[in-house]
């Protein structure tokens, strides 16, 4: 069987492209890293890709708000065929591929209106605001996956740990109705949780103050997914903050990190 093809977009201050590409390769896909400009100029065409991934970083320096300027470019610049890149991303999702945004990429998807997109018209339905702490932080969080989430990328990852690294991750919905609808459809596939696995209301278990303690959000099709934490930073057990102890207490623990399991799920989601 052909290996799925993942396109990892970079440029303009995106900075997680290297480990993201490594993640797809380790997960069994082929990864192409392409500068956004090459995508916009049609040098790299979306047609051949099963996954389009907007990685983490500080696109345009987070000026005007994380992901905002990147989103504007994706929405306004025309590809050689006349469509916008935003149209292209929706086409990838429609034909059974996946569009993934992590951290800054998630911010861009929210700004584009691609998630949650409950109204189907790419309206601004949510925002990722400044963390309630007022600070950028790098810390590991406990998260819980929702098996009923339409994005089928959570298998084998019921409750796990993963790092967050952001200053603007506080998800807010435009109104209560939208929030309830998103929750009803299980679009919030990943939840920050406390030691007992309950949704975390407080800092630092909820690192940014997000509504629904939401760490990931997809569209109703489950084919467009944004996630705030960084699974690509947990490809190996040796990325974990307590790996020596894990190895001592559970000899024989796999050297793969939970993040790699997640990427394998993404690859599987476009293979089925």
């Amino acid at each position: 069987m052909k290996r799925p093809e993942a396109l990892v977009v970079t440029g303009y201050g995106i900075n997680c492209e290297e480990e993201t590409a490594a993640a797809y390769r380790l997960a069994g896909a082929t990864a192409t890293v392409a500068h956004l400009e090459n995508v916009l100029r049609g040098v790299v065409n979306l047609d051949g890709f099963d996954i389009v991934h907007l990685p983490g970083g500080f696109s345009f320096g987070d000026d005007l708000g994380g992901g905002r300027v990147l989103a504007n470019r994706i929405r306004t610049r025309r590809l050689p065929g006349g469509a916008t890149l935003c149209d292209g991303l929706r086409a990838v999702a429609r034909r059974g591929g996946m569009v993934i945004g992590i951290c800054n990429g998630f911010q861009a998807l929210v700004e584009l209106g691609l998630v949650p997109n409950l109204g189907g018209e790419l309206a601004a339905e949510a925002a990722l605001m400044q963390n309630a702490s007022g600070k950028y932080e790098d810390r590991w969080v406990r998260v819980r996956s929702d098996a009923d989430c339409p994005a089928a990328v959570w298998a084998g990852l019921e409750e796990w740990e993963v790092p967050v690294r952001h200053g603007q991750g506080r998800l807010v919905f435009r109104d209560e109705a939208l929030r309830e609808e998103a929750a009803r459809l299980h679009l919030d596939g990943l939840t920050y949780c406390d030691e007992r696995g309950e949704p975390a209301g407080r800092y630092p278990e909820n690192p940014n103050g997000a509504e629904l303690a939401c760490a990931a959000l997809c569209d109703p099709s489950g084919r467009i997914l944004g996630i705030m934490p960084h699974p690509e930073a947990y490809l190996s057990l040796f990325n974990h903050y307590d790996w020596p102890r894990i190895r001592r207490e559970r000899p024989g623990t796999s050297e793969d990190g939970a993040g790699l399991v997640w990427f394998r799920n993404v690859v599987r989601a476009v293979t089925a």
Binding site: G13, F58, G61, L64, G65, T76, A132, R165, V172
Partner: protein, 998 residues
């Protein structure tokens, strides 16, 4: 006709909860300034010219802010319920990334609008305060918390007086190249040096005048049709090139050193050659004997280069950015980290891939409350500004900050020390040529890449060579643009990989004059046409263009055959790259502006014409008085020491730096349940487990007693940090030898004696000599090479007749190869029942220890490094860790065994029960608990491996107790319990030490 502007306000929606930025300012105003502001809301204001149409405003508002989280509007929407405002505007010429980004958005929205294509935009921050505050109160919040009058235009007042400012355009200034007649008298020469901020002394000014008096020089200048007198540009280029920053004049001086302890007087022909370069040469010699060939390039490029394997090299550089950080902490630090990033990018043929950053910061205590001198910033403000500058510089570049240190001493109240380090990986070869060698041929083109030139950062090189005072030149301040640099470095990496670049160097101190002046030495000449240099705005004089230190620029040597490809590729990537001249073999640096000669300088004179300094120094060790130790409650003492400024947790700072981007970090700054680590460990790739360890050592406080011991301890601390995670010293017969690469960064006060202005200069120079001697001894004993470094002299701040000088300080930043990162260990205790050992002999070395500092008792000896014993111990530790015998290992440094044990316990969430009698035989329990004898570790070993471990250590490891499941601290002495308390008590003191700062 006046320009028309559109102003758009973007503010967080009040119904989305408190504004976190406003909330932080409110808290700081209350805590630091005792001003109650009430609620604070913030707005961003984007001003655009020419003014937008109504339709354009509508679409722009939708693009500039998300309506779920923001209110976006034109005009001046003042939020309800606020009575004062503060507006923070950038001064003309100060980097305004966000303004540029607004233009990017508008151009994406309106691609066919010619007005917008050539338009301008500016960004501004506005704070709305609930209370009606006095103008003095507002001005304090404006200048001390949210802005800096050096780089910002600050306005404030009652809200009803709020008005949109009119962005100014620079006045038209005629461009000129001046000839300057050199005065015949020495006093006149010195006045000229001062007036033009040349920072050249009498001998240097005389050498300069002699050069222009020389018949052959005059004849040559006449032949070329240039005036006999120097041009302004020439004087500036000479001053930059001869600056302390570029020529390291103290380190190359002839030093007469009187060693009163030994009764000897020696003449030292350059401290750099005699100690630093000689140490590395001696190490190189040993490596050659052992058949190891990983040491590739030391001292003569922007960074040191060592070999990782046949295909990759590792590049390592640590820089200082002290003076700029003293006057603009945020700008100084961000340019410090971005500038340091450019060193590996500008080493060899350029384009190395940045792997990690390190940051070591020395401040006065944030609670420092002595009256501030004119021009001096409050230390807590310097701390907060520097921290956030490093956050933006590192995080926005996507480079993880993996290691660092914070050192507090009130003598850093005038000048902080800001050390930034960057490691990178580069290919070993480009085609058939070694990557690390720059090759430039006559006829190669000079291309500058990256940011534009403004007046920001003029005189940085000469400025860093003078002490600071209230009149320090403000144009020396710059704000970095991480975005511009990220685009340039992505571009450079790819351009270099395609083989288009023959040599690269960065534009740091001295700007183009330094970068081109340096590169021109390779082919033997260069010609530059300054009018081609892209400028931020009009009105910059030719000499200013040549020496400006505007950031984010690299200078490349490019073969004319591929230049077109390189420039086209840059255009595609939105990076400005411009051909500004060519390299020659004329022996001359010829600089023109629109066809007129701005400078024509003989390269040999430029680089070798500076007269050597002669300095004198002396050293006599102060008499040692043994401290009298009172009876102390040990639990209180431990509590005091773990909560002290130099020991307490750095978590608040560490978490604001991304230390995991790139996904390679294996040992992070905090591990387990938040235990601090001795070194960072990173993987080099995802396909195998080879790695690199990174650590640092700095202990200025010992220097008052013994600068030799201070320097040796700092070096040892850096080395033992790497040993503690599982590194191995270079040695004969090692299978798979691992590289080491250490940078030394000296920071000293003025060491040039002057009866009136610097009466302490001889002693200070004596301290420097002793530090250099220690550096040599430790480097050679451990066979660890120095590969690059930096000296920062004259770290003094003078105002109103008062001088605050830093203590003599040295930072060692060590890196070493790790064959398998899975075999490294961390400091956290792992399991109850594990045996605890102290490795290495503990001596009564309490001088300037954290414990005596807490007790407020003077006296004692500075700890000494015993390199022979340490080297043997380090060999055994590498063996023990490499064989998997060790569960955890923490080096003992600040605060001694007490801190080592408590930090390891915190990391593991476990307790310990130890007997101090097993550490050695002492009269007082504080000695084994708090002595700072170097080269020691606290190690835990699982029961089943104890025999093997003891076998490897051969008596150099003393068992002192056990790890306990119960998280308590239990310590006995003389058979009696002398501390028994819950770990949480110590943890709280440790965790909260820096709370609210940084």
């Amino acid at each position: 006709m006046p320009e028309r502007w559109t102003h758009l306000h973007v503010s967080p929606r009040p119904d989305r909860g408190a504004d976190p930025i406003g909330e932080r300012v409110r808290r700081q105003a209350a805590d630091f300034l005792s001003i109650e502001t009430g609620r604070i809301a913030t707005s961003k204001v984007y001003s655009m010219s020419p003014a937008l149409s109504a339709e354009q405003v509508h679409r722009s508002c939708a693009a500039l802010g998300n309506r779920v989280s923001c209110i976006v509007g034109a005009g001046t929407p003042i939020p309800q319920g606020f009575r004062s405002y503060i507006s923070v505007d950038k001064r003309p010429g100060v980097t305004d990334d966000e303004g540029q980004t607004v233009l990017t958005v508008l151009r994406d929205l309106f691609p066919s609008s010619a007005e917008i294509a050539s338009g301008r935009a500016a960004s501004r921050d506005v704070y709305w305060l609930e209370h009606a505050l006095s103008s003095t109160e507002l001005a304090r919040i404006a200048d001390e918390l949210v802005g800096n009058a050096l780089v910002h235009v600050l306005r404030s007042g009652p809200v009803d007086e709020y008005a949109e400012p009119r962005p100014r355009s620079a006045a038209k200034i005629p461009l000129a190249i001046e000839s300057i007649v050199l005065p015949r008298d020495d006093a006149g020469l010195l006045r000229l040096s001062e007036a033009r901020l040349l920072s050249l002394d009498r001998a240097e000014m005389i050498a300069l005048r002699d050069h222009y008096d020389c018949e052959t020089v005059r004849a040559e200048r006449s032949r070329l049709g240039i005036p006999a007198d120097p041009t302004d540009c020439e004087l500036e280029v000479i001053a930059q090139t001869w600056s302390e920053h570029c020529k390291h004049k103290e380190f190359s001086a002839v030093v007469e050193f009187v060693d009163r302890d030994r009764g000897t007087t020696v003449e030292i022909d350059s401290l750099f050659r005699t100690y630093i370069a000689a140490a590395t040469r001696a190490v190189e010699e040993k490596l050659r004997e052992w058949g190891q060939t990983w040491l590739l390039k030391v001292f003569d490029d922007n960074a040191g280069v060592v070999r990782i394997d046949d295909d990759h090299v590792f590049v390592w550089k640590v820089e200082t950015h002290n003076s700029p950080s003293a006057i603009d902490p945020y700008g100084g630090a961000i340019t410090g980290i971005l500038g340091c990033n450019r060193d590996p990018l500008g080493t060899g043929r350029g384009g190395g891939r940045l792997l990690f950053n390190t940051d070591v910061l020395c401040f006065a205590r944030p609670t420092y409350d002595r009256p501030l001198l004119p021009g001096q910033l409050a230390p807590r403000r310097v701390f907060a500004g520097v921290r956030s500058g490093i956050e933006d510089g590192g995080n926005k570049s996507g480079v993880p900050t993996v290691n660092g240190a914070l050192v507090f001493d009130d003598r850093f109240a005038g000048k902080p020390l800001v050390f930034c380090g960057t490691g990178s990986i580069a290919p070993a070869r480009v085609g058939d040529a070694p990557w690390w060698e720059k090759r430039i041929d006559s006829g190669d083109r000079i291309v500058v890449v990256g940011g534009r030139v403004g007046k920001d950062g003029i005189h940085g090189a000469t400025f860093s060579s003078v002490h600071l005072d209230e009149e320090s030149p403000r144009s020396a301040v710059q704000i970095g643009s991480p975005l511009t640099q990220k685009l340039a470095s992505d571009f450079l990496e790819e351009a270099c990989a395609r083989g288009w670049v023959k040599a690269a160097t960065d534009n740091g101190a001295g700007g183009l004059s330094s970068s081109i002046g340096e590169l021109a030495r390779i082919p033997g000449g260069a010609e530059v046409d300054l009018e081609r240099v892209p400028l931020k705005y009009e009105g910059i004089q030719p000499w200013e263009i040549f020496v400006s230190e505007s950031q984010e620029r690299m200078t490349l040597a490019v073969d004319p055959g591929v230049e077109g490809d390189l420039l086209a590729f840059a255009d595609e990537r939105g990076v400005e790259a411009v051909d500004i001249g060519r390299f020659t073999e004329s022996g001359v640096l010829w600089v023109r502006h629109a066809g007129r000669t701005a400078a024509c300088l003989d390269l040999d004179f430029l680089h070798h014409g500076v007269p050597r300094k002669r300095l004198s120094g002396e050293w006599a060790a102060p008499p040692v008085e043994e401290p009298v130790l009172p009876e102390v409650d040990l639990a209180s003492a431990i509590l005091g020491v773990v909560g002290s400024w130099n020991v307490c947790s750095r978590e608040g700072v560490i978490r604001q730096y991304d230390h995991e981007v790139k996904g390679r970090t294996v040992v992070k700054p905090l591990m387990g349940r938040g235990g601090p680590q001795d070194a960072a460990v990173l993987r080099l790739s995802w396909s195998d487990y080879r790695g690199i360890a990174v650590s640092n050592g700095i202990v200025p406080r010992y220097g008052d007693l013994d600068p030799y011991a201070m320097c040796a301890c700092a070096f040892d601390e850096a080395v033992r940090g790497i040993i503690a995670v599982g590194g191995r010293l270079p040695g004969p017969g090692t299978e798979s030898p691992q590289f080491w690469s250490v940078n030394d960064n000296f920071c000293l006060p003025n060491v040039a004696y002057d009866a009136r202005t610097n009466p302490d200069g001889r002693r200070r120079l004596g301290q420097l000599v002793r530090m250099c001697q220690a550096l040599y001894d430790v480097a050679v004993a451990y066979a660890v090479p120095l590969t690059s470094g930096k000296d920062s002299m004259k770290n003094d701040f003078t105002a109103g007749g008062v001088t605050i000088s830093v203590p003599p300080s040295i930072l060692f930043s060590a890196t070493a190869g790790i064959p398998d990162v899975r075999r490294t260990v961390t400091t956290s205790f792992q399991a109850p029942g594990d045996a605890i050992y102290v490795v290495g002999e503990t001596l009564g070395e309490l001088g300037r220890s954290e414990f005596l500092h807490w007790l407020n008792v003077e006296g004692g000896r500075a700890p000494q490094v015993r390199t022979d014993r340490a080297r043997e111990r380090y060999r055994r530790m590498a063996e023990a860790i490499g064989s998997g015998l060790v569960a955890s290992c923490h080096d003992l440094s600040d605060g001694g065994l007490a801190v080592g044990l408590v930090e390891s316990a915190i990391g593991g969430g476990l307790g310990f029960d130890v007997a101090l009698d097993d550490v050695g035989s002492f009269d007082h329990p504080a000695v084994p608990l708090f002595s700072e004898t170097p080269s020691r570790f606290v190690v835990t070993v699982p029961e089943g491996r104890r025999r093997a471990f003891e076998g490897v250590m051969e008596g150099d490891a003393r068992p002192i107790g056990r790890v306990t499941a119960d998280p308590r601290v239990r310590i006995s002495f003389g058979g009696r319990a002398c501390a028994d308390a819950a770990l949480t008590r110590f943890q709280t003191a440790w965790r909260t030490g820096l709370e609210g700062y940084g």
